[in-house]
């Protein structure tokens, strides 16, 4: 077997690397876990948190080139490498704040190319932090070196990650100089992806603004000004518009109310032709008694003492459809829209039409 002979200094650094390998592996598990927990607590959604330990082969290549720069293996700061990939470029800033809070950042060796990039050049806006774990954040008596060893955290968006990988595959490290035209195309692509990243962030900001506006309008009661859509309906549900009716229905049998997700009713309201939250508000006001009458008839003579919170909107829609002359066809359509098409919904529609035909609201 051939053994490569290295410079004694490189050999010494490699020996230190082997001795510390269990510590690196431990850090490779620990740091991503700490980050994931912190992101989850702070509500930061990232695409992924990855890690890798530099292989002996890769380290050897680096040391052979610039081994003299390092006095000790701990001077090599990228043996443990972490990569955090975010969906939005403004989340990269949040990730840096997390790193600054959790770890000690070695500013001298950290890189933030986002600010330094030339005005006429485009490429991966690299952001690398060199960090270490302070003892107040974590210690392990088995691995005291863990607080001494620095590690590198790369932060990028999904699009920057895609670009960096493509660039890596087509140019960097391939050993062959690629023609200028391809380099230029890659640069053009980087510029476009930077724009796309900014657009995604802008859209997210606009959506957040829209949601805040809707919440304000809902709170102020200007419901007829709010177009009915997913965001508006979600904000509307937060003020519990069906709760009063639901409590009244539950009081018939002193039933327990099981809160359920009412968002499936959005499709039904839209299919019923409702345009604004004001239309739902009017439905509640105009059909409150009718919905209650349906519930009284259905459960008043039973011992049922558990109800899902969907009974209130379901009964309101039932009353609305019947009063508008929809009959059993309309009721079947309602169940098809809510629960998916089924022949069995015809049976339900028949039952419901029969149950309601003599109720007061149907004859007023």
């Amino acid at each position: 077997m051939n053994e490569t002979t290295f410079d004694p200094h490189v050999q010494e650094l490699l020996t230190q690397y082997h001795q510390l390998l269990p510590v690196y592996e431990q850090m490779g598990d620990l740091v991503p876990g700490m980050l994931r927990n912190f992101f989850a607590e702070a509500g930061i959604i990232v695409a992924s948190v990855e890690h890798r330990i530099k292989t002996e082969k890769s380290l050897t290549g680096k040391l052979q080139l610039k081994g003299q720069k390092y006095h000790h293996i701990n001077d090599v700061t990228d043996i443990v490498g972490i990569r955090v990939i975010t969906f939005y470029n403004d989340d990269v800033g949040k990730v840096t704040s997390v790193l600054e809070r959790l770890f000690v950042v070695d500013w001298e060796n950290s890189i933030d190319k986002r600010k330094a990039l030339e005005i006429d050049s485009f490429g991966y806006l690299s952001l690398h932090y060199i960090c270490s774990i302070p003892t107040e954040t974590y210690t392990d008596p088995k691995y005291p070196e863990m607080n001494e060893i620095r590690f590198e955290v790369q932060m990028r968006t999904v699009l920057q990650h895609a670009w960096a990988n493509m660039n890596h595959d087509t140019g960097y490290k391939s050993g062959v100089e690629i023609p200028r035209v391809y380099k230029r195309n890659l640069s053009r692509l980087a510029g476009m992806l930077e724009l796309v990243d900014d657009e995604f962030s802008r859209i997210r900001h606009e959506l957040a603004d829209y949601r805040r506006q809707v919440q304000k309008l809902v709170a102020s009661g200007n419901l007829s000004e709010i177009p009915l859509d997913g965001d508006a309906f979600k904000s509307y549900l937060e003020i519990g518009p069906f709760d009063g009716l639901m409590r009244r229905i539950a009081s018939i049998n002193q039933a327990e109310i099981q809160p359920v997700n009412l968002s499936p009713f959005l499709n039904l309201f839209l299919a019923m032709g409702f345009k604004t939250l004001g239309d739902i508000d009017a439905l509640i006001k105009n059909y409150y008694d009718a919905a209650y009458q349906i519930a009284c008839y259905q459960i008043g003579l039973t011992d049922i003492d558990i109800l899902s919170s969907s009974v209130a909107p379901q009964n309101l829609c039932t009353a609305y459809i019947l009063k508008k002359g929809g009959g059993r066809v309309g009721l079947k359509w309602m169940f098809d829209t809510l629960n998916g098409p089924s022949e069995a919904n015809e049976i339900l529609a028949d039952m419901l039409e029969e149950q309601t035909k003599d109720l007061a609201f149907m004859n007023q």
Binding site: Q258, V260, I304, I306, S309, S310, E343, A344, I347
Partner: protein
Amino acid sequence: MEVVIEKQNEVVTVFLKGRLDTLASQEVSQQLEGLSENASGTIIMDCTEMSYISSSGLRIFLTLRKAASEKGGKVIVRGISNDIRSVFMMTGFLNLFEIQELK
């Protein structure tokens, strides 16, 4: 009330036969305790031969649904009679479960 539990791969089928009234519910609830703890797959509640369901019975269905949704599983209700379908509709439970009709 008779309860038969069959497991095939990741699908557990619970055959409920008779009346799921308040008294039977206590026993059935105990029989299905293990199922709630391992509700990561699909649970089919076969009600083809179930003739009645009380509020306590509905609570059993609800407990299973909650356990399944927490563990990434799902509960399918199969073969309910028209009377039980009516109870599911009146209580709003129809919106909570995937209902499978018998072919």
